[in-house]
Symmetry: C2
């Protein structure tokens, strides 16, 4: 049993201290974390951004990533979507008794790599272990803090008629990657998750000085849900053009086969930006220079008509309302 997590690893006692020191602190090492006090303490000034997400993705390893990489990227991206520079993350594990220590170590290594790429530090954490059958292998919560640079005001409520709607790349990759792994489906062309930290691309977009009104990463509920949130928060209409929406052909094929609409499938390394019309080309150029935005395109615009509604111009030239997701498409996708 020495190669598996025991209930005693969550006891607060000796085994937990050893696990934290040997498996977590040594890999995620930084002076704030190493203090091991009840809270991390550090200096920070200005407008603070603060966010949280729990990750329950199943399976915990999938093509293109794992729950650890996802937990860092997801929270880094949530901070970035308010224009904040992500700085510090917390890391909290809920582990099912019996998890292989080797699996936990792989995931901690992914967390470390993703945090290094994003330039954030894990500064505080928590470990709970629940008895076998009371959780499914591993759940992770990351919360994050960052600083919003002076003069930045990005919100889902800031879209204005005339603004252009940009997506940073192909849609649905994460959802299809997880689903294929979960169900044992093999695609002819493998579909890896797009899971990635977008903070550097956002910094490059902001550095253009463009008027960026809204940013959001279309995770659960997909692009359709994100655009509906913008339309409702900003009380505007949004029109998008189906022909302009980038979807990886393998993802499109899988969606058609399985009866999914890629507009509703989750992404973990994509963003939607709503940008003042005169600045759209400048933002697009900045995005395309970044590895994670090479396939960025304008997919539509904000309109004064049909407030709170998203309307899609289909391939055939017809218009249809794109509603928020009703019911559940893919549980435990993130």
């Amino acid at each position: 049993m020495a190669d598996r997590i025991l209930l005693a690893h969550g006891s607060g006692g000796k085994l937990m201290h050893d696990l934290i020191k040997k498996s977590f602190v040594s890999t995620l090492s930084n002076p704030i974390l190493e203090k091991l006090d009840d809270s991390a303490v550090f200096d920070l000034n200005g407008r603070l951004a603060f966010t949280t997400d729990s990750y329950v993705v199943s399976p915990i390893f999938f093509p293109g990533g794992d729950i650890g990489k996802l937990a860092v990227c997801g929270t880094v991206n949530d901070l970035s979507m308010t224009g904040a520079t992500p700085l510090y993350l917390s890391l909290s594990f809920i582990i099912e008794e019996g998890l292989l220590l080797a699996d936990l170590e792989k995931i901690v290594n992914s967390i470390s790599e993703a945090a290094t790429e994003a330039g954030v530090k894990i500064v505080t954490g928590d470990t709970k272990v629940v008895n076998k059958g009371s959780a499914d292998r591993l759940f992770i919560n990351t919360s994050g803090v960052g600083v919003v640079p002076h003069g930045i005001d990005i919100s889902g409520a800031n879209a204005r008629p005339g603004d252009k709607v940009i997506v940073s790349g192909t849609l649905g990759d994460h959802g299809m990657a997880v689903l294929s792994q979960r169900e044992g489906i093999r695609f002819q062309v493998p579909v890896p998750s797009d899971c990635a930290p977008l903070n550097k691309m956002v910094a490059e977009m902001l550095a253009t000085g463009a008027e960026i009104h809204c940013l959001r990463d279309p995770t659960r509920g997909g692009l359709a849900t994100t655009l509906n949130e913008f339309a409702q928060q900003s009380r505007v209409g949004i029109r998008i053009d189906e022909l302009s929406i980038p979807v990886n052909p393998a993802v499109l094929g899988a969606c058609e086969l399985l009866g999914f609409d890629p507009l509703y499938v989750a992404n973990e390394g994509k963003l939607v930006a709503v940008v003042a019309p005169d600045d759209a080309d400048r933002v697009l150029a900045a995005m395309r220079k970044n590895h994670y935005g090479q396939k960025a395109v304008i997919i539509g615009e904000v309109v004064g008509e049909h407030p709170r509604r998203v309307v899609l111009k289909t391939r055939l030239g017809a218009s249809r309302i794109v509603d928020v997701l009703v019911g559940e498409l893919l549980p435990r996708i993130c």
Copy 2:
């Protein structure tokens, strides 16, 4: 099924939006939370404290509290133990499909009440739903941020020989309350959990101007583990006197019956303070004026001998080493 949580409540779509608006935002209402962007944004200046905890207590309702109250108090207390003033919390739910909506609402109400008592705001959140059997009813993560006042430097590494060790009240109440509920044990005198936010008492302790070196809430692993952490972080010895350690008679009886040592049983509304010797009486007086510190007492002192070891003088006058908890005493106590 309309009275229970469905998988679709975690979909990112319509049901989730409705649940968040109707059940969470309306109860926990404040202008930052109501913006519903990816991160909460607010002004904050100075030294920041940041902490996280996931709560997996079983059962989710217990005498003296529930998982919601616990999730607020635990994180408020972790912030307080670095001397920080807790300000903002995040709130993340992992819900098992089938949880009664009425139970979730009770818990959200507890969260609201505890946050109001502690004077903190819930500013950002997340909701995940997992299929039946993949979690045990409800897990909650709260993370928190606060500001450490100028001149405060409290850490488990700051204990010095000569310092006095104070506990704020009786030990083991939370652990025994949860255990009795879980196992259906009835005590003659009911034992409620001590679960409480300690931030106001800590503020009153700091207001005395006393030299407070260490603060910690002895949760998992109990007093014994907290004192061992101080001894190791500060490289000092600690001596405590068994006769001076306050334990509720009903808890002592239950511990004797069940074979537990109250030194290792979890508390959720108690703190241990290590204070400069000349300031101990002043701190004690401030604690006793507060509702949650009425039974505060000095239980021992920091010594230069036996560094990294905690030694207990027993009722019979003998000395024994009090080690950190080895193995697991009570899983899922918090």
